[in-house]
Symmetry: C2
Subunit: 342 residues, 2 copies
């Protein structure tokens, strides 16, 4: 099946330096893919020329005269940047000219513009950010990762319904195991929202397995496919894991740099350490999907390099192929009707 | 200076099997230390006999006929277990016969009993749990780690005041750098409680450096001495870090076990990997202090082995020597008067 993805080519810490080579790599790998690079056409053509790719039959340049800055306020970006690469890339999804949009730009602005342009799926109150973390069982999907700082039980329930459809589609499994992030596995633990959300999930058709703790994100006692939490907690957990991984890799490097002997040991162990590092390379987990919108928007890490940005584009390709947005919309409507008639 | 610590010798997953050898080790290391082992005297004497230590001039056995189970409800433990090793060990602190108490038992029960027996420091609404995490800068103190699931800005402020005194005392530094855990460093980020707590901290005499993100627990861009958060978020972050460390060590072991060549590389790299592992050994970070009570209670991890439990006892020794509880009490009174007169 042919598919078209719009790229906010100016977004992220590195802009076209990263987005252009990543896009060319994706086009090479998928003959069904068309990409629309959105941004300053002069700059984009210069970057394409560097890669000897001024013309490509499945690459389209869409000029946009503005750019959303990484620390610009979402409200200002929404009001003043109507011809930004970010806004135009999202417009293309809204107009049906692209099946999805990928941006490494300012998360708040991307969320605000996507919400304004694409609108919410009826029945969903708030969009949520879902991404994947490596785990000893393969990987775990987690939402919300920062779109919502205070969530009611109803919001958490909606996140579970949407996340469930996404995991079913991209993992090709029937009944994803869903856990609710809490500070203990006993019923008495947790805050009021989490306890109330647990009741909603227990009474739903979802494969809800109960409370899980923070360690379940990477290495719990059992495999969980989807973990649901509010955006404040999810974001802190995600960044805490990033910090732990950074500390461990820093100290590991230090240990191997202490003396000529440890350096030699490091040289011998290098291929093993490299294969280990590749297994949890955060670049291979780059890309978070905004759920709840009437269109597919994928957020790449702002500091992504070409490999990481390629991963985000490939995530968009997978979710388009699996028709994730349509499936979520249908399921939300069904769940709402079920609850109305209950 | 001589000091006495009461040990809930029956608490934790392993009871006297762990608490007895850890206690004997601490007595050996500190000639000023007296320990009161609280629990079933017959069982404790059996364990002491195994270590050829039936008599020790600085070891006292205090019989207690009951035991709080690891999954017993705190309310039931409080009501029905008046002669439990946990309760008696805390009573000894209340009666002034011990300067601190260490327990690896059920956290909820320990908190409920400690609060009931010892009472709160006037001016503090809720006790908080503080512990230490390894970081690329040495280590970071964090509170609250799970005692409070919903915190107002005032609670977060009180945690900062108490944590500041503890860090000053045990690290011997003048003005600990204090960060508030949030999902971004910009002023607009975060939930209402965190934003309001930031205002209180900015207007205080504390060395408040602003918002920090989850990665600052182990590896932020700058060293932070104390990170303040509500107990739900703190507990999830702590367990997420535990999970990340477990995943990394599991995958590292897997990588070195793949073939005869990787095993050989592992053998050569073993001393380096061992020294690295020792640096972040969680057993060397065992022990969390309950702050806000009129007496010192240290909670050890339930699954602690003898080395880990020894670390928790040593933490109690340090906090007694540094007179942490008195200093917190004085500071709380001072801060309250300051705020009343402001």
């Amino acid at each position: 099946m042919s598919l078209t993805i719009s790229i906010d080519a100016m977004g992220g810490d590195f802009g076209p330096k990263v987005t252009v080579p990543a896009s060319l790599e994706c086009l090479k790998n998928n003959p069904d893919l068309t990409l629309i690079l959105v941004g300053d056409s002069t700059i984009l053509n210069q970057h394409l020329a560097q890669h000897q790719s001024t013309t490509h039959e499945r690459l389209v340049i869409q000029h946009a005269s503005q750019q959303v800055e990484m620390h610009e306020s979402p409200a200002k970006a929404l009001r003043n940047k109507k011809d930004s690469s970010m806004r135009v890339a999202i417009n293309l999804v809204h107009e049906g000219r692209a099946d999805a949009c990928v941006s490494a730009g300012n998360t708040g602005a991307l969320m605000a513009i996507a919400r304004f342009v694409l609108k919410m799926i009826p029945g969903i109150d708030r969009p949520a950010i879902i991404s994947t973390l490596p785990s000893i069982y393969g990987h775990t999907h987690v939402l919300d990762l920062g779109a919502n700082v205070d969530c009611s039980e109803e919001h958490l329930y909606q996140f579970a319904v949407m996340g469930n459809e996404l995991v079913k589609a991209v993992e090709n499994i029937e009944n994803p195991k869903i856990g609710l992030l809490n500070i203990g596995e006993e019923d008495v633990k947790g805050n009021e929202q989490v306890k109330a959300a647990a009741k909603l999930l227990e009474n739903s058709a979802l494969n809800y397995i109960g409370y899980v703790e923070g360690n379940s994100l990477n290495a719990g006692n059992i495999k969980v496919d989807l973990i649901v939490c509010d955006g404040f907690v999810g974001n802190v957990a995600l960044k805490s894991i990033e910090g732990a991984a950074k500390m461990i890799s820093t100290l590991l490097k230090e240990s191997f740099s202490k003396s000529i002997f440890t350096k030699l040991a490091g040289l011998i162990a290098y291929p093993v350490l490299k294969s280990f590092k590749d297994r949890i390379d955060p670049r291979l987990y780059n890309g978070a999907s905004f759920l709840g919108l009437r269109g597919l928007v994928i957020k790449s890490h702002g500091g992504a390099d070409a490999l990481a940005f390629k991963t985000a584009i490939q995530l968009a390709e997978l979710e388009v192929k699996q028709d994730v947005i349509r499936k979520i919309g249908e399921q939300v409507e069904k769940s709402l009707n079920l609850r109305k008639s209950a």
